[in-house]
């Protein structure tokens, strides 16, 4: 119980402390940020491990007659784990990336606050709490999106808010309807709508999908994501490749498994369209990605595509599909953060943001490009990277559900992913380098270390998927 509270409050408390610290004391501030990130991470791990071991703890409250609760279950625990671990990596990376840049205090304040809010999403025990944290997340991350304060950033921020609030609106309607029909909104104790036979269930599913789909970047609700790439790279990496978008993905997983339940879902006609929507997003997303020249935008569209992998797994309504989805949540996040980190290092050390101009970059930044290369192989879904396992189970789930064309979609997507990334890596090693060995220096070390460590972790999980297997199994057993 205490662990839960501490995990959730670490970020907020840290953020508020940073907010009132004087601007000049950057070393002290970094220390404070690190301390609170670590604390949040440690306590999240503690919560997660306890949940996997079968322990149960809730915090409940009420406002306005509406009950909210925090009640981590295996799915929430997995999400919390991913978020907190990657937050820690991003924090260290930020120390390198943001050194010497403007508005660091605002940045770190909201980075920490967003951490707490994301954990709130992960650990929420009913739809009310989920909605609350989901809405707050939009606002907590807004200052990070507009960080650069350029006109592009402000416009991106406006788009961000507009899309997200509209989604939240749809979500609110869906929650109200659910409340009206089911009377309770708790996740524990079986799917909420399990015994509910009403005519509008399909529409309700549509509403929920729109509501969470904005953050999960399902096409065509995805347009805020490429625009949000104006944010600093650590923000893009963490929030828009992991935390914020995973909140949306998490929401959809909750809808499918905790609100409707896989048995009810199988009976709804809209739910058979969902895998198609996911498949569409997978293919179209990565295809658009291939055409982008600005590296971060390429990664953004690629994110959109990869998120739908997770959703596809969830929509198969099969244990193996869900296994694949959870595995992909874990695997993909490590790799995408690695890719973004590499992009950031390249941009910072060489000034290049366009892929077409990155010839020879590999010789200046060999370790960075090596990490990029490893992550690229992962995006294709090749062994020895961890995404092989998620793809394997995703394909298994597709076949088990009788929808084997989805497996073909995954294969096709793998090929397009190869087209998207391999040339970038190869080109990076052709031609002369612009400057020799740009990987020296403390600042770069702070950026490079987390990158390499993440790539190594991805490889380890790839060779030994058993590392994450207990968590994955816990989630699947919870719902099936």
């Amino acid at each position: 119980m205490l662990a839960l509270i501490l995990a959730l409050s670490s970020g907020v408390v840290g953020g508020l402390i940073v907010a009132v610290m004087p601007q000049a004391r950057s070393r002290l501030r970094n220390l404070v940020v690190l301390v609170f990130s670590v604390s949040g991470t440690i306590f999240s791990w503690q919560v997660a491990l306890m949940v996997f071991a079968g322990e149960n703890f809730r915090i409940v409250g009420e406002f306005g007659g509406l009950a909210w609760s925090l009640d981590p279950d295996p799915l929430g625990a997995v999400f919390g784990l991913i978020a907190s671990t990657l937050w820690l990596f991003t924090t260290v990376y930020s120390f390198g990336y943001m050194a010497g840049k403007h508005k660091q205090r605002t940045y770190y304040t909201f980075l920490l606050i967003s951490f707490s809010v994301t954990l709130g999403v992960a650990f929420s025990g009913n739809l009310v709490a989920l909605y609350l944290f989901y809405e707050l997340l939009t606002f907590a991350t807004y200052p990070l999106v507009i960080h650069e304060r350029s006109s592009g950033a402000v416009k991106a921020g406006a788009k961000y808010i507009l899309y997200n609030l509209s989604g939240a609106g749809a979500l609110l309607i869906a929650i109200v309807i659910t409340y009206g029909w089911a009377g309770n909104l708790d996740f524990a104790g079986g799917p909420i709508l399990a015994n509910c036979l009403k005519n509008g269930l399909n529409w309700l599913l549509v509403l929920f999908t729109i509501g969470f789909g904005v953050k999960a970047a399902i096409m065509p609700l995805h347009r805020w994501l490429p625009a949000a790439m104006v944010a600093p790279t650590p923000v893009s990496a963490l929030l828009h490749a992991v935390a914020v978008v995973y909140s949306g993905v998490y929401g959809i997983l909750r809808v499918v498994y905790s609100v409707f339940g896989h048995e009810l879902m199988a009976e709804l006609s809209f739910s058979s369209m969902l895998p198609l929507i996911a498949a569409f997003t997978i293919l179209v997303g990565v295809t658009i990605a291939t055409q982008q020249d600005v590296l971060k935008r390429r990664l953004a569209y690629h994110t959109i595509s990869q998120l739908s992998y997770i959703l596809l797994g969830a929509f198969t309504l099969q244990p193996s599909g869900l296994t694949g989805a959870i595995l992909h949540m874990i695997s993909y996040s490590t790799l995408k953060v690695t890719l973004f980190f590499c992009a950031g290092i390249i941009a910072e050390q060489t000034g290049e943001i366009k892929v077409s101009k990155m010839g020879g970059v590999g010789w200046s930044l060999p370790m960075t490009m090596a990490a990029f290369g490893i992550a690229s192989l992962g995006m294709i879904g090749m062994l020895p990277l961890n995404t092989f396992w998620s793809k394997y189970y995703l394909m298994k789930g597709s076949v088990a559900g009788g929808r084997w064309p989805l497996a073909l979609v995954l294969i096709a997507s793998g090929i397009i992913n190869a087209v998207c990334f391999i040339p970038t890596v190869v080109t990076a090693f052709r031609g002369k380098s612009v400057q020799p060995n740009a990987e020296r220096g403390g600042r770069v070390a702070l950026m490079l270390a987390p990158t390499l460590l993440l790539a190594a972790i991805a490889l380890s999980i790839g060779l030994w998927p058993g590392i994450v297997w207990p968590g994955v199994q816990a989630v699947v057993n919870w719902f099936f």
């Binding site: 406002f63 306005g64 009310v128 707050l136 606002f139 609030l165 509209s166 609106g169 609110l172």
Partner: protein, 498 residues
Amino acid sequence: MIASITANLPVFVVIAPLFVAFVLPTFARRMRLVEGLVIFVETLGLVGAGYLASIVLRQKGIPIIYQLGGWPAPWGIELEAGSLGVFFLLVIAGVSLPVSLFAKGNLTEEVGSKERVARFYVLYLLLGGALAGMAVTNDLFNVFVLVEVATLSCCGLVSARNHPRAAEAAFTYLIMATLGSTLVLGGIGFLYMVTGHLNMGFASQELGRIWQDYPHVVWMAVSFILVGFGVKSAIFPLHVWLPDAHSTAPSPASAILSGLAVKGYLICLLKFLYSVFGPELMQKFAVHRILALVGAVAIIAGSVLALTQEELKRRLAYSTVAQVGYIILGFGLVNTKGLTGTLFYLASHAVIKSTLFLAAGAMLAATGKKNVRELAGVGRKMPITMAAFTVGSLGLIGIPLFSGFIGKWYLLLGSLEAGNILSVAVIIAGSVLCAAYLLPVIRGAYFEPGPEEDWKDPGLPQKIALILLVAAIVILGVVPGPFLELAKRAAAELLALQ
């Protein structure tokens, strides 16, 4: 002793401000005394309202009836402090007190001179008393009287500033409000003609019996009342006087006008619709559909118009038009949840809009600017003010943890129960639009660099006022407990009649 105070409380809360209002001009020169008296009577009002509320809650909703002059109904004027009445009393008191605090020491620049300040307070208290009366009255003609008093006070308040635009706005308001009053009087006249009663309770009973004999008259009455109060509450498209009026008035006045005055008329309308006509009659005449539709249009139109405004106070004024739309839409939901929602939303908006206008006023006064764009960087220089504005905005948008969310939640539940999907969509769309016209202000204030000017937070009483209001927004959002209970009871009462 206690019993007699309790029994007389309904009339006290109405009379006290009126009394002080009359007495005030004698102390015109002594500002401190004037302000102190005002605050004193407001505090008394709050205490009284609170006490009444607690009694009513304990009595499980049985109202406290007071008969003026001891004359029993149907000949005398009856005051009924039931759940609805008490609810609104709390709202009035809860909002006017902080506003008066804010006005302390602030008014002289805006209004002109000390005498004018005293006159301002006279009108202010008159309005307060009239609103309190509207809350508890149970007599048709009494309503009209109070409405007139309120209207004239409002007019005065609008023109308080020494400004040509203010005079123009006040004049427009006067014309339109009088038109409204005439229509209201006409409606009351029709009702009296047909029922022979002026007491709301008796009139509604009678109406229930004989309306089929005079359907056209009843229909005329309904329409007149609707349009009449519609003008006064600035229901779209009868709202045209409001933006000018509320934006040119001094800030405390804008707060009261948008926050309370408009609500008073809405409460009267509510009483008419539900206590006099009754839900059955409303549905037979499809009034509820009209209300829902008009409300929906108002929400969208008001929000869109607000988006187009460059001046901050005008933007807030159009926002009021939109929010009134929410309340009207709620009126059209003839079920408990919907009415609970609309009442709670009404209260929530009262607090929020006052906060917004006061904060806006402080910012505009400190910076000397008027437009939203010119307020860049204000957030850092005037943190408390801007924080209040932010909380108010978030509450208005409907973010959970703030009062607006509770109101919207119940409105949504009510709309779904009534099967009104359009309302559901409009409620949400309204929130998004609200974000669209409020969030850029906040963004500009906090995230854009401002000029190197010496802008400061207003003085202590103003800060306390803002903090009180913000606290109210949050408390209502997180632990609305008894307040929500009152709203629910009021809704139930309104529906149970007839």
